[in-house]
Symmetry: C2
Subunit: 426 residues, 2 copies
């Protein structure tokens, strides 16, 4: 279907058919949800051995009684595992609670309020503080900036990650830019993996950026591959060491989409300077992370090899779901001018771009037909997609059968919105 060159007659004919479809969907009373990057119950069940894994032995290998107070930065064993996941040394790791988002929030908060290198480095001392936000991106990152009053600047993404020409130009010319949000592997939502050049140029930003600049590097999907031969994300800290910019990167990860989404183990990797600041302030804010849960995780997943084997089971559950979405998109839109989409090899999302100005309408039509989509604009700072075209599809949670139904609705909604727009344009 090509609406651009279609005759008015053809458009009217399509409109009639698509509206009929739409009405039958509405009458069908579906109640489906493609909004959240939530693991399915089957995925969660892969980690059901966690509860009971300790078999009464709560003492970690290093002798720590995990039940008691103490240890602001995690068990040595969990640090070692997290280090292997993120490609750093165990001494670079701080283990948190069940939420890497909280580690990001605290990092942003401490950077804002206290500074990573003392009070004079606190962002709140600046007249204005900005973060670069590659778009489309993750709404919860943007919410942290909005909460702290940090101004967000959109930066375009391509298949290699953020447009680094734009990033470098902005960073070089605007001293108020103090950070950038990155999801370097299977980016949320486009699914791209940052290229070696992008990673190297990110690592080098510390040499041209304003003081107290920090890259928030959310490696949420680092082991979340969907293919047998996944691409490797180049190691940013290797480049940082060459450039002497180790202090400019804060890396984050978790087992939320490895074990339990709400009861996993979060961690971050950072330089000694940054970890010292984090630990100083976390020591005020918490009695320390849940070490019992860390030990449970170590008893079930002791090393990266076991982790990768575990992730293959996730991939087996996720692959047919992604395939279903992509199959619908391919069949409906490959031979069309109605939209474009990503074909990710990992992560949790498929990013779809409608014709300009249609994302809100598609989301509205789908909702009428009982299919909940991520709100249009959610993938942009302040919820404002300048083109109103990006929609994030999250196929992990529903069954393949439900995804199949939901995608039929989605595709009809895209077509109906596109045809209606062309008709209105006259």
């Amino acid at each position: 279907m090509y609406v651009e060159q279609a005759t008015r007659e053809q458009l009217q004919q399509w409109h009639k058919e698509l509206t009929t479809n739409h009405q039958s969907f509405v009458a069908g009373g579906l109640n489906l949800d493609l909004t959240r990057g939530k693991p399915s119950a089957s995925q969660l069940s892969l980690a059901n051995d966690l509860d009971g894994a300790l078999k009464g032995n709560y003492i970690a290998d290093d002798g720590t009684d995990t039940r008691n107070y103490g240890g602001i930065d995690g068990l040595p064993g969990m640090k070692a595992l997290a280090a292997d996941i993120l490609g750093v040394k165990a001494e670079d790791i701080l283990v948190g609670g069940n939420s890497s988002l909280t580690l990001m929030y605290f990092s942003a908060l401490f950077g804002w309020q206290f500074g990573f290198t003392g009070p004079t480095s606190a962002w709140r001392n600046e007249d204005k503080v900005k973060f670069l936000c590659p778009v489309p991106g993750y709404d919860r990152h943007f919410a942290i900036c909005e909460e702290l009053g940090i101004e967000m600047v959109n930066v375009p993404m391509d298949d290699n990650g953020p447009d680094m020409d734009v990033v470098e130009s902005l960073v070089r010319n605007d001293q108020s830019i103090k950070g950038i949000w990155c999801v370097p592997k299977y980016s949320n939502p486009t699914g791209c993996i940052y290229s070696a050049e992008t990673v190297e140029r990110l690592a080098n930003l510390g040499t041209i950026a304003a003081d107290n600049f920090r890259i928030f590097y959310d490696n949420a999907y680092v082991v979340h591959d969907l293919t047998d031969d996944p691409a490797e994300l180049p190691n940013i800290m290797d480049y940082c060491r060459k450039a002497g910019t180790e202090d400019s990167v804060l890396q984050f990860g978790s087992t939320s989409k490895v074990t339990f989404a709400g009861a996993g183990v979060a961690f971050m990797a950072a330089s000694a300077v940054n970890l010292k600041a984090m630990k100083n302030h976390l020591g005020i804010a918490t009695i320390g992370p849940d070490k019992v849960n860390q030990l449970r995780h170590l008893r079930v997943i002791s090393n990266v090899q076991q982790l990768r084997a575990h992730m293959i089971k996730h991939a087996e559950l996720l692959k047919p779901r992604f395939a279903c979405v992509l199959d619908h998109l391919q069949k409906n839109f490959a031979d069309s001018d109605l939209g474009s989409w990503s074909t990710p090899e990992g992560g949790y999302f498929i990013s779809f771009d409608t014709r300009p100005g249609l994302a809100s309408e598609v989301v509205k039509l789908a909702a009428e037909a009982g299919v909940k989509l991520t709100p249009a604009g959610a993938t942009f700072p302040y919820g404002k997609d300048p083109q109103d075209c990006n929609i994030r599809l999250a196929p992990s949670f529903p069954t393949v059968e439900d995804i199949d139904k939901a995608m039929a609705v989605f595709c009809n909604s895209v077509k109906l919105a596109s045809v209606s727009q062309r008709l209105q344009a006259g």
Copy 2:
């Protein structure tokens, strides 16, 4: 031993004997620790059934899959249990992660940065913000204030809680006072229980205090009785409802000293207004608390009756430890002018006051003899005990045998410091 009226000769004789004792302790190479309010391994083992409690069933009574994302304020079942513990309704509860300290930190932070009732209510808008700190008190409360630059004002404590004449006068006359820290039951470290009059007058503060005043009511030891017939703490929310001051109190509690110190469940109780603000901002800062751990707790401790039965087992382990400390104090100091102490009926601490100016010296002498005590001053804001007399003794963690040894050192240290001081005073 009375040093006040002792002759110089008598003092010199004592000094000689006590120094000999001290030297033999030093030579003994002890390595004991009376600093932290940590449960002992035996106490922690009382909750060893937690891991494995789910037996593969991760679904809560309300149908929630606890493994997945979702639920910023906790499982309904955990809210109900927390409500019974704190004497409020389930709808007044927000369940957190493993640390009530984090809930307090976030409460103070959100009050400071965002305000509980919108931006204009944020404390950071004020020229100066002060909190009242009943002393001696809990160093981690004071650390939160210090972190945020909130000025702390000492208020004396007696057996009924804070001196409410002083509190009311300060609150009435100083609009910069925005909060007060309270540990109303088995206060840390004095062990007192706030009287009904104190609790009522606290509840009424909201009628005379500046706007945006909040009582941080840390009910950490609410079920931590050491006697068979424990005193009841009057319910502050009952008084608040009478006074129309429900928004002025934030209550905190946890199972840290019920189940696992580092892997328990924390919660807070507050008015709808305050909970709304907390949830709004926590929704930015976290994916939500660990619901799996909440469910584990509910499976092991379903209601307050089971909780109280569980706490009796704790009391059995704690009582001989407290008795050992009190026995030493009684034998050494009942018939003396060397110090006074509390005889708590619950909680985790015994508070000892030396003669003025001696706490630091006692801590130093004990350290020389291999007994680590809470640093002098730790129970006061900024670590400054104006009288340098308060020492917090924490007997929960060591064995009775070790407490016995440590207390022999402690008592000798108090005597030696007291006699030395009198000798120096000439």
